[in-house]
């Protein structure tokens, strides 16, 4: 039995991308108790959507909830409104949404992977992953016209079409990215340092993932087969070559590998969707105001994203509720810290790819 120390981690810390505060009670380097506190970046977006903006303007507001997964938020909201108002989106628009969504997933996953390398102390690999990520950022910039906030999805379709010129720009970039990602995967599988640091550390068992309701790549790294992309079938993912990436180790290494493998699958889906793009309209006109309520569960890069929309026949919504993936994984994150050495805290935290600006909204 050693003396107990209280070690705060955050809200501002070099290992943290965004503000969250942990207070660890440690006993000789081993963590015995944790307290979590978040909400440092609350911006009142839900309230703004319910008071200031019309429902047609809300896709652009909810896109600003998160910088990395902005398109998931916009398409989640649009799906909810479309199910509420019975709008049938043209097939071409659905395919374009899939392409944008998968490209966004790749860049979000690569960001998480690179950040994990940095926290593990492997600065060189961090730079390399970030450099490869630049390819997909370029793709998104050409495709949607902007680097970070795409403003691509609207109610009833998408804003921009995929022309032949854009297709010819995207295709070689994605092929190059696939090559580089395979090289990266080999490094992650064989690198001695990373194996020593990540294998067997911060293990989430399948029972634990089920009990604490883990979502997204974290659940899939523990062998829990859950993916909202195919569970609900809003978009035709299965015909585009989707396959679920499952790892059973549940440690930091497995979570990293899930992200790398999923990026490879996403490249495949994006390429298939680009090749088999159906002809037709990209947008349908929306008339009337939403009346009733709808709930949509949608897969963001970090996991399940929940949108609840309630309208009362007026242009401004009565209620908009967003439940973000990081909010769902905070309980399992907290549980995981118990009886772990303090030195593993940055790796465990970043392996969850926390997005606190989503969570606080």
């Amino acid at each position: 039995m050693g003396k107990k120390f209280v070690v705060p981690f955050g809200s501002q810390h070099v290992a943290l991308p965004e503000p969250i505060r942990f207070v660890f009670t440690t006993e000789n380097e081993i963590i015995r108790n944790v307290a979590v506190d978040f909400g440092y970046v609350h911006r009142g977006i839900e309230k703004a959507c319910m008071s200031k903006f019309k429902y047609t303007q809300v896709p652009y507001v909810v896109a600003r909830v998160c910088g990395l997964c902005s398109i998931s938020h916009a398409s989640g909201y649009c799906l909810a409104i479309e199910t509420l108002m019975d709008i049938e989106v043209p097939k071409r628009a659905v395919y374009l949404r899939i392409i944008a969504h998968e490209l966004d997933r790749i860049h979000s996953h690569l960001f998480a992977v690179s950040h994990l390398c940095e926290v593990a102390g492997y600065e060189n690999l961090f730079m390399r992953v970030m450099r490869d990520r630049e390819l997909v950022m370029e793709c998104l910039e050409i495709f949607t016209g902007n680097r970070v906030q795409y403003d691509f999805v609207t109610i009833g379709g998408v804003n921009r079409d995929l022309t032949k010129e854009v297709y010819e720009e995207l295709k070689p970039r994605l092929e190059e990215l696939e090559k580089r990602l395979l090289q990266l995967k080999e490094i992650f599988e064989k690198d001695y340092t990373l194996q020593m640091r990540w294998k067997g550390a911060g293990v989430i068992t399948k029972e634990m993932a089920q009990k604490y309701n883990a979502v997204g790549p974290i659940a899939r790294a523990s062998g829990l087969a859950t993916d909202c992309r195919v569970e609900f079938g809003y978009f035709p993912y299965e015909e585009l070559g989707y396959r679920m990436v499952l790892y059973h180790e549940g440690d930091i290494w497995a979570r990293n590998m899930v992200r790398v493998d999923e990026s490879l699958v996403s490249i495949e889906i994006a390429k298939n969707a680009m090749d088999n793009l159906p002809e037709g309209e990209i947008n349908v006109r929306v008339r009337g105001n939403p009346n009733g309520e709808a709930l949509v569960r949608w897969e963001a890069p970090r996991g399940e994203l929940l949108y609840y929309v309630k309208g009362n026949g007026k242009p401004v919504l009565e209620r908009l509720r967003i439940k973000t993936p990081t909010f769902s994984v905070i309980p399992v994150m907290k549980e995981l810290y118990y009886n772990q050495p303090y030195a593993l805290v940055p790796d465990i935290t970043i392996s969850f790819d926390p997005c606190l600006s989503c969570t606080a909204r």
């Binding site: 303007q57 652009y60 690999l125 390399r128 450099r131 050409i142 016209g145 902007n146 403003d151 690198d191």
Partner: protein, 139 residues
């Protein structure tokens, strides 16, 4: 990995140089051409951040004045799609020039926002007077 890193030491940087022009299809400034405008104000209504404002003339005529704030604009292009007269609003492929402190873009914009509310009241009064005048003339 070692050879890759060693090679990187002697290769040019991967980042773009300063002053590189934006790529094709870039979402840039909104341009307005008054000749074809019918003053339906659809662009003002759909704009999510409220970067388009029309101010009203005091004499009650229907020729409104278009104001656009490129620093508030999110370049979503919603106004271009909402416009019933194609060619009135066009999205350019170049970004707007950065604002400097001496231009005071915020202060100018706040004044326009105030002016829009005040001028609308005056405009409505002027319209009312015109209508009354017309009715008198008819009688």
């Amino acid at each position: 990995m070692f050879f890759y890193s060693l090679k990187n030491l002697f290769s040019p940087p991967a980042t773009l140089e300063k002053g590189t022009p934006p790529p094709k299809n870039y979402r840039g400034t909104i341009l307005y051409f008054e000749e074809t405008c019918i003053y339906c104000k659809k662009c003002e209504m759909v704009c999510p951040p409220g970067a388009i404002i029309f101010t009203y003339p005091e004499d009650g005529s229907k020729k409104l004045k278009f104001h656009y704030n490129p620093y508030l604009c999110i370049y979503c292009g919603e106004c271009v799609r909402a416009c019933p007269k194609p060619g009135t609003l066009v999205q350019a492929e170049t970004p707007s020039p950065p604002a400097t402190a001496d231009q005071k873009p915020n202060d100018q914009w706040f004044e326009i926002e105030k002016l829009a509310v005040e001028s609308k009241k005056k405009w409505q009064e002027a319209r009312k007077r015109m209508r009354e005048q017309k009715n008198k003339n008819q009688q």
